[in-house]
Amino acid sequence: MTVSELNKEYRAVLVEKKQLNEDTFYLSFRCPDIAQKAIPGQFVNISCSNFLKRPFGVASTDVANGLFYVGVKTIGKGTNSIASLNEGDMVDVLGPLGNGFNFEGFDSFILVAGGTGVFPINFASEYLQAKNVKHTVVQGFRCKSQIVMNRPEYVLSTDNGDVGIHGNCCDCLDTLDLSLYKNCAVCCVGPLPMMKAVGAWATKNNLKCFVSMEQRMACGIGICLVCVCKLNAEAEGQEFKHVRCCKEGPVFPYEEVIF
């Protein structure tokens, strides 16, 4: 491995910050390496006011300007400190980390997003768009005020029926004419119950489904083993195995995950 191929911890500047709704922000950082290398489903680990870095899915990249984007929902100290950075402030970043979505071998995709999952799904959609791969984005929100990263062509549901389909993602999915999706896979990023439901829906419809898991992390690069997901390991003669979310994941085939 030559020195230039080595992974690095980058120091990246916050280029732009936008507030998307009450508690969600959209930030771009300058880091040409990450912008160039990241694929959808991968994440970055960003320093904050606290001791450990915080993981965020890559939401978009701007290779020409060397930028990557993340969406940050403020839930605690770390995310709040990142959301209150000013343009021009510096952070330490590791990335791109983990295995993203493996789009190989499929001809069309149904991308399903909930919660902060809209960010990696946005990146997936942009990526497939650029390659002209057929795909549809399905978003599920609690209510209108929560909607972020939406586009007119997306299929939308809200729990309270404010906008879009009244119901959850699966109600949306049921409205799709699956005969139009050839050799299709489902990619879902959202809260656990949503991923479980979407996985079940996909299985019922004989579609391969990938889900992106979240675990508390420390290193983000596979050296501490604190972030494991429980995967089915019958093939290996065991009931289950513990696999690093940050390294082998965060994206796993739905059927392997023990929820």
């Binding site: 080595l6 001791f51 450990l52 870095k53 675990q215 690069i221 050296i223 501490c224 494991v228």
Partner: protein, 304 residues
């Protein structure tokens, strides 16, 4: 003059800095960040006779000054390690230290006799009598002087490899335990493993860690680690290896002055994977500026 080479007993290291067990796996991942041959050594994730899945549920809790982990010795088992990782560790150009854990004296004996068969590929065995995250063995053995004696004596008979005994700080009298290990044939003492701690999520009113308690590491434990290294170094004739909260080259030097012949970095690597590179550069600067061999610092502490 002005080298950062050190020796731990007969083992010559090209730097005092060793990656601590459980914070570098077997080197695969970090070797994509920097050339690990700049290190004094790398201590493998703790190994057991049989593969272990580790603890279920949340395994990490952050604190202001460090973190708690309750990985619970997840590891592929010693046979898988020998097959898949040992040779790889030998390609890294740094000392190969194997961290050995167990539930009983028999486990430790079994591990050591098996690993001794690969003694040409191993520079030292680090005997983990201190992991707080498994129910039996480890820390409970390491808290009892007589058990430490017994397990070290038993291992000593089976191998000529350097036996580094890694002790738990969660004891009343670390000196007497370290001394017992020395008398039973240890080649070096590693101090410290993690402090046993707990963090509670006040919203759910449950421990953050699903194992309830976990091992506290990082800068917050350094004062305890320095005290224990100084205490033990003053009564031992074998080398002490310091560990606990290293984040800067000054921390390395503080441990060496306290009495450490080499120093491990654990949580520091988790926070900044290339921190050991920075620390190594700073140590080189330091010895150049002061025109000393780093090893000459060991045990130079003058008590009041």
């Amino acid at each position: 003059m002005s080298s950062i080479n050190v020796k731990v007993g007969d083992l010559a290291l090209n730097s005092p800095l060793i990656l601590a067990s459980g914070t570098c796996n077997f080197g695969h991942e970090l070797s994509s960040y920097y050339d690990l041959s700049i290190l004094g050594g790398l201590s493998s994730k703790g190994l057991t006779l049989l593969p272990r899945l580790g603890n279920e549920g949340c395994r990490v809790a952050e604190t202001e000054c460090g973190m708690l982990n309750s990985v619970g010795l997840q590891n592929p088992g010693v046979e898988s390690f020998i097959k898949n990782d040992l040779d790889y560790m030998n390609t890294l150009g740094t000392k190969v230290i194997i961290n050995v854990a167990g539930h009983s004296i028999e486990d430790y004996v079994g591990m050591v006799s098996r690993l001794d068969q690969f003694s040409s590929k191993i520079d030292a065995l680090e005997i983990n009598l201190s992991c707080p995250n498994v129910r039996a063995g480890c820390m409970s053995i390491g808290s009892e002087r007589d058990q430490v004696s017994e397990v070290v004596s038993a291992m000593r008979k089976l191998t000529k490899l350097p036996l580094w005994i890694k002790l738990t700080p969660n004891v009343t009298d670390i000196k007497s335990i370290a001394y017992a290990a020395q008398e039973a044939g240890a080649d070096a003492i590693v101090l410290i493993n993690t402090l046993l701690g707990m963090v509670i999520d006040i919203k759910t009113r449950r421990p953050v860690l699903h194992n309830n308690t976990g091992g506290y590491s990082g800068p917050g434990i350094k004062p305890v680690a320095i005290r224990m290294v100084a205490e033990c170094a003053s009564v031992l004739s074998i080398p002490v290896i310091g560990c606990g909260g290293v984040m800067t080259y000054e921390d390395v030097i503080e441990f060496m002055i306290a009495g450490a012949s080499a120093v491990q970095i654990g949580t520091g690597s988790l926070v900044h994977p290339t921190l050991p590179v920075k620390i190594t550069e700073d140590l080189i600067d330091y010895v150049k500026k002061n025109d000393i061999d780093l090893s000459s610092l060991t045990g130079t502490l003058r008590m009041w």
